[in-house]
């Protein structure tokens, strides 16, 4: 059953109103202002207990340049004003991590700085990045579309540069299209769907009514949900595609028609416990809760969702972390901010443990199985050594508050329960990582 969405809008515009993410062009450079106050900090060189003797001649600080690459892309505006992204979404998280790294760095004579480049064209972004790499930048945080990220990482192949993907949940980037110079901090679609699937299974809501959008991203997430249902003992009892032409986001009115349309669309579905929605571009999913024909909860990309971070998360010392972010930005921390923070902390952690700027040493350490970063998740976060994907607990949440943390108790794994989320080692198609 399909319903054309556009026709319900008053004066439906044919063209999508596009919302361009940010127009921040000025590169943000965190200066190396936090210079070493206590240069003698290495464990093997204990300073004298007398504080006055604690400052031997200052060496040059070790400087770590990190490049944040943001691909500007045309995106349809979200349904709700609450979901309008900030101009510095993601970049602000990276800035907080630079500040955290510099606080630690002042005890180790290390300083971190961030440059930002933006643009729509992947080739142009790689040209700019290559210039930065020549000038000594080895670490790149990338918020890009999957295709562009592939082109970008291939253009940088063989260069002393490590890319951390924070912008795409696409599983193929970690599987058949994995690249040795890319780590993935953002969780994958399969990880997100599994986090949700485990919770729904724990809740015994095992019969799912899947509603998916018609965009390729929606279809990819729907596929991840189907996979999750199968893995955790749930069943998709009914599946419908929601076809729509998104009109103008704003129109005076609109609810009258939506109020009629959603019940009609969800009518006569086979008996189900929960409606699961796959609408990554956010064009109709938020219309589902409270409007379905039968009274059922909504999960997926709307209602109950899975995410790497939530602005109201206060577990595991998260309060102070949220406060630091708010002081810096005067806004709340989004999942993209968190992923970017974590990507920059990975560099900071490697730098403080190895105390060198040598790219090979740091890159090898980050790729080593023992590498770990504490990231306000209650357990250490680590990288899967078969495809470079960060393993971490995921948050299952309503728009306002945390509901649970996945993996759920009882979903066991031979090595780590965190690998019950997403594509596991035996199924991986990634060949670029030595196994």
């Amino acid at each position: 059953m399909t319903v054309s969405f556009g026709q319900y809008f008053q004066g439906a515009a044919t063209a999508r109103r596009s919302f361009q993410r940010g127009a921040m062009l000025a590169a943000i450079v965190i200066s190396a202002g936090a210079l070493a106050l206590h240069p003698a900090a290495a464990q093997d060189k204990p300073a004298a207990p007398d504080a006055s003797a604690a400052a031997p001649a200052a060496k040059d600080a070790l400087t770590y340049s990190i490049l944040y690459v943001r691909q500007t892309r045309e995106k349809p505006a979200p349904l709700s004003l609450l979901d309008l992204p900030s101009a510095d979404d993601g970049i602000a998280g990276a800035k907080l991590a630079i500040s955290d790294n510099n606080t630690t760095g002042k005890f180790l004579n290390q300083s971190f700085k961030l440059d930002v480049i933006e643009g729509a064209d992947a080739a142009d972004l790689s040209r700019q990045a290559l210039e930065k790499i020549t000038a000594g930048t080895g670490y790149i945080i990338a918020d890009m579309e999957p295709d562009s990220l592939l082109k970008f990482s291939d253009a940088l192949a063989g260069k002393p540069a490590l890319i951390a993907n924070v912008g795409s949940a696409d599983d193929s980037l970690r599987e058949e299209n994995c690249r040795a110079n890319v780590l993935h901090v953002a969780p994958t679609r399969t990880m997100l769907a599994d986090a949700l699937g485990q919770y729904l299974s724990w809740k015994q809501w095992r019969n799912w009514f899947l509603v998916s959008g018609s965009q390729p991203d929606d279809k990819a997430f729907a596929e991840a949900l189907r996979r999750a249902a199968k893995r955790f003992g749930s069943k998709i009892v009914e599946e419908r595609e929601f076809k729509y032409q998104s009109g103008s986001r704003r129109s005076d009115g609109g609810f009258e028609q939506i109020q009629q349309q959603i019940p009609q669309f969800t009518q006569n579905a086979k008996d189900h416990d929960v409606v699961v929605v796959a609408d990554e571009s956010g064009q109709f999913g938020d219309y589902m809760p409270y409007r379905t024909w039968t009274a059922r909860p909504v999960a997926g990309t709307s209602g109950l969702t899975a995410t790497s971070w939530h602005p109201a998360l206060e577990l595991w010392g998260g309060t102070q972390f949220q406060n630091r972010f708010r002081r810096l930005t005067n806004r709340l921390m989004t999942p993209l901010d968190y992923d970017a923070w974590l990507a920059v902390r990975v560099i900071g952690e490697a730098a403080s443990r190895k105390q060198t700027t040598d790219f090979k040493t740091l890159s090898a350490f980050i790729h080593a199985p023992e590498f770990e970063v504490a990231a306000f998740k209650g357990v250490k976060t680590t990288f899967r050594n078969w495809n470079g994907q960060l393993r971490q607990p995921l948050i299952v949440t309503t728009p306002k508050l945390l509901v649970s943390i996945s993996p759920q108790p009882g979903f066991l794994h031979q090595f780590t329960e965190l690998d019950t989320l997403g594509i596991d080692k035996p199924e991986t198609k990634c060949k670029a990582y030595a196994q």
Binding site: A48, P49, T103, T104, K380
Partner: protein, 327 residues
């Protein structure tokens, strides 16, 4: 000790777990309940709650004044330290701190309080009598653990996100050494003769033991519990007996306290306690160890000699800090 009390205590223990515990003297334990904004007072002889009072918001770290007359509490969400009379439990005064004070330690002189403010990368030095901030010491991100050397010369602060133990000269208030430890260090504590410094790393899952004299690592303790996921073993609280022979490490969501021989740094026993055990305190005679179990809203009482939990005592919600007075 009165005979009747002794019998009562033994009977209670026997009722709880079916064996006879070493009777304890009547000390008073003060437990902060993070979620309830309250302080639970426990008689360690009867092993019963004698009183619960409302205090400031999100109470966490708690210490006693040198003379034992005052209970000094970090009320984190009020961004202040509250002081209560240990006997009457009446509110006495507040002391300043930085934002979000979490743990504190008293200088052996009894006059100076050092407070870790989790929210501003500073250790605040407070003069108790004057009620004034004397100094702020910059440390790493999210300062937490606070260990004072027995001679009062060295303060060790741990910073949770920087992953360091910062050694601070208490005379100059300057850091003179910074040592990297495993992820998310929560607690630092010296043994009674100052020959060992223990630092727990919650996410790293280890406890590092240093020689404070040269700040070299003596050894690192790893934990392994059958049937418990490695990630769930998260060391937080550490306590060491006065004779320096045994150390106790609270293992968070592993719901166990490890008992460690301080000479060999080997774990002798894992004692099952309540859920998410974080902080602990020994009775002044070192016979009992009280643990705060945040997720199960109780305190477990461990008989130190028998190496067994003998009782659990219901507290307010999310018990966090604990201190025991000799009175």
């Amino acid at each position: 000790m009165f005979r009747s009390n002794l019998m009562l205590s033994a009977t209670l223990a026997a009722l709880t777990l079916g064996f006879t515990a070493v009777p304890a003297s009547a000390y008073t334990a003060y437990i902060t309940n993070e979620k309830d904004n309250s302080l639970t007072v426990i008689d360690t002889e009867k092993l019963e709650v004698t009183k619960t009072i409302k205090i400031g918001q999100r109470p966490r770290g708690v210490v006693l004044s040198k003379d034992g007359k005052l209970v000094i509490i970090c009320t984190s969400d009020d961004n202040i330290i509250q002081v209560y009379d240990a006997k009457t439990l009446e509110f006495v005064k507040t002391l300043p701190s930085g934002p979000d004070p979490e743990l504190l330690v008293l200088h052996p002189d009894g006059k100076t309080l050092y407070v870790a403010n989790e929210d501003d990368n500073l250790v605040t030095v407070v003069d108790i009598e004057q009620g004034k901030v004397v100094s702020d010491i910059p440390v790493g991100v999210e300062p937490e653990g606070m260990g004072m050397s027995p001679d009062g010369k060295v303060l060790v602060n741990t910073s949770e996100t920087t992953n360091m133990a910062h050694f601070i000269d208490t005379a100059s208030h300057k850091t003179f050494d910074n040592i990297l430890v495993d992820s998310r260090p929560r607690v630092a504590i010296f043994n009674a003769d100052g020959t060992q410094l223990w630092v727990s790393s919650e996410i790293g899952g280890t406890v590092a033991v240093f020689n404070p004299a040269d700040r070299k690592l003596i050894g690192k303790i790893n934990f392994e519990i059958q049937g418990i996921a490695k990630e769930a073993i998260q060391p937080v609280g550490v306590r060491i007996t006065k004779d320096g022979k045994k150390a106790f490490v609270a293992l968070g969501p592993a719901n166990r306290v490890a008992i460690i021989d301080t000479a060999t740094l080997k774990v002798e026993k894992y004692v099952l306690v309540g859920q998410r055990v974080w902080q602990m305190y020994l009775t002044p005679d070192d016979k009992l160890l009280l643990t705060t179990n945040g997720a199960s809203n109780d305190v477990s009482v461990i008989d130190v000699a028998a190496q067994k939990a003998v009782k659990s005592i219901k507290t307010g919600r999310y018990p966090w800090g604990v201190v025991i007075s000799k009175d």
